[in-house]
Symmetry: C2
């Protein structure tokens, strides 16, 4: 092993502090972690020596006995998807204030990889937050029984979760489009294994039924900007004058394709996205979208997980639902009367 720390012996350990002060290792340990357990003067001397030596506890060794690593894994299906920035930032903030460390894992939209990572991490992390699970309900529940888990935007029996109520926003979006005279709307769906995509579709058909709007569904599409081209083309094959995209990434890609094909937005086609990610406000035209409290979702997930950890891993059977709202920008407008 590299002797990177200093000329002799690397980082100081409890033993070094003990030798320095003349106390036993156990006393030093207690002085540092259970201050009430030792004499005040003893503690002072030990603390001074620890500081002078630059002692910091070895988290690995600590984890070995305590079984707790004070670190949590956050799984996202694609680190480059801006939707997750907010999640990541939210979890990071909240975990840090609680003294936890965050491990970020990209599961690359693969259920196998997600499963494998979770199994591997189980040993060395106190718990995990899964931002967009591609796992089956069954597998997710199994894993949740083995380690503290919180899911975001995924409701499965036995798995605490944070739910962003985009379906409610879908209602608003449909209402908005109807009020602008749209009678046929298309839904560009996300990946087949995406739970929120299905939920949005259900909310969409339900709302459409209420307003007697003709619906069509295209897809599935991978939630990436590049897929927007295919989605846009597919929508143009329907009679829809407006469309709702599974998420903003897809919507932004569609915008680009529409421009390429000379389809004017919103004159010829209204486009509504979901999430209100980075870029939704400065794309062209700026995107009407269902704004989700993304950062807050990350924070909520952490609080749920920490609550579970405090209760010794006993799952907190609970869902936190976060409201959304429709943000109207320039990509949606009156239906073409053609």
């Amino acid at each position: 092993m590299a002797d990177h720390a200093s000329g002799l012996g690397g980082r100081p350990t409890l033993a070094d502090v003990a030798a320095e002060t003349g106390f036993a290792i156990s006393t030093v340990s207690r002085a540092l972690s259970k201050p009430e357990r030792v004499n005040a003067r003893t503690r002072e001397r030990i603390e001074a020596a620890a500081k002078q030596l630059g002692y910091t506890a070895n988290t690995t060794a600590r984890a070995l006995t305590s079984g707790r690593t004070r670190s949590v894994a956050v799984l996202v299906s694609d680190v480059t998807n801006p939707f997750y920035f907010g999640i990541i930032r939210g979890t990071q903030q909240e975990l840090k204030t609680a003294g936890y460390t965050q491990l970020l894992v990209d599961t690359e939209e693969s259920d196998d990889l997600e499963d494998a990572m979770l199994r591997r991490l189980r040993a060395s992390y106190d718990g995990a937050i899964i931002a967009a699970s591609r796992l089956t309900d069954r597998r997710l529940a199994e894993l949740a029984a083995q380690m503290p888990l919180v899911a975001i935007n995924r409701q499965t029996r036995g798995v605490p979760n944070v739910f962003i109520d985009t379906p409610a926003g879908v209602d608003q979006a449909v209402e908005h489009l109807v009020s602008h005279g749209h009678r046929a709307i298309a839904y560009a769906s996300g990946p087949p294994t995406s739970w929120p995509s299905e939920r949005r579709w259900r909310a969409f058909t339900k709302a459409a039924g209420r307003w007697d709007v003709e619906v069509s569904r295209v897809g599935p599409f991978s939630p990436r900007q590049i897929q927007g081209a295919a989605a846009a083309d597919a929508v143009l094959n329907t009679r829809a004058t407006a469309c709702l995209a599974f998420n903003d990434l897809l919507a932004i890609g569609m915008l680009a394709r529409f421009a390429e094909r000379g389809v004017r937005v919103p004159e010829d086609m209204s486009v509504v996205g979901c999430d209100d990610i980075f870029g939704a406000d400065f794309c062209h035209p700026p995107l009407t979208t269902i704004t989700a409290p993304i950062t807050q979702a990350g924070r909520a997930a952490v609080s749920l997980l920490l609550a579970q950890l405090d209760r010794d891993g006993e799952p907190v059977r609970r869902t936190i639902t976060l409201p959304t709202h429709l943000t109207i920008r320039a990509s949606s407008g009156a239906a073409s009367t053609a």
Copy 2:
């Protein structure tokens, strides 16, 4: 501790496999990690038992003796800055194929936080990649002496690094603007502690001198979109007909502000960014920018770090320089003749 794993005793350990097969713990350990050290038949029996029991090594315990955790920290100054997506994705990919785990840390543009995190992580991570250090040269070098470190876009004696040659791109950008008749160009600078911002400014003044162009500098600005408004206003106070922004985030923010103030881009003002981040191609107008091989930079950083790790932490005194190129889009054009 929660007994989350099973009814009895939690996860299987080497001892369990040893008991099951009748071999000693050490033999089991070797069978699993140094297969050539044991008899083939022994290894088979042990592997079978391990598989059947569902044994997986406890990484914490392993790290304790070996001193190697097979995990690496990646520090970025702001997770929500799209510039880092590529970095993160690059490091993630490369680390995963090497069997390493990646810890993502957001240092929030704070040198103190960066320092503290590095110190804390030193113990439990094999090394770190710093994507945009806010540390002083001195401090960075000190830390590099204590743990394997690789910096991205930061050249400091004694610290292996990956350098994205944006300064060379700045040359091209100035040339491009000059060829369009611009005689006065402004630079909107990044944070005062940003090393690349200074480098870009130097390259900028040098190129400007070569072409006898009048330069001005505005800022410093925090590299966030919202700061673009202030930057745009500041540029309008100069005689510049074109500007180069420290990065795309700032440039995109400037675009929005120019639009707000009725300044036409590129007719009244040409704008050039740096990096070519997500969004640079679909903002309005699409941004001319110096395209950086971001993902590749992440990968290169990992390879440098891994090389260092293989050599027992002995620093590899080396810089990897990655070329950039100018990507011309619609935000730059002929200088107004007004």
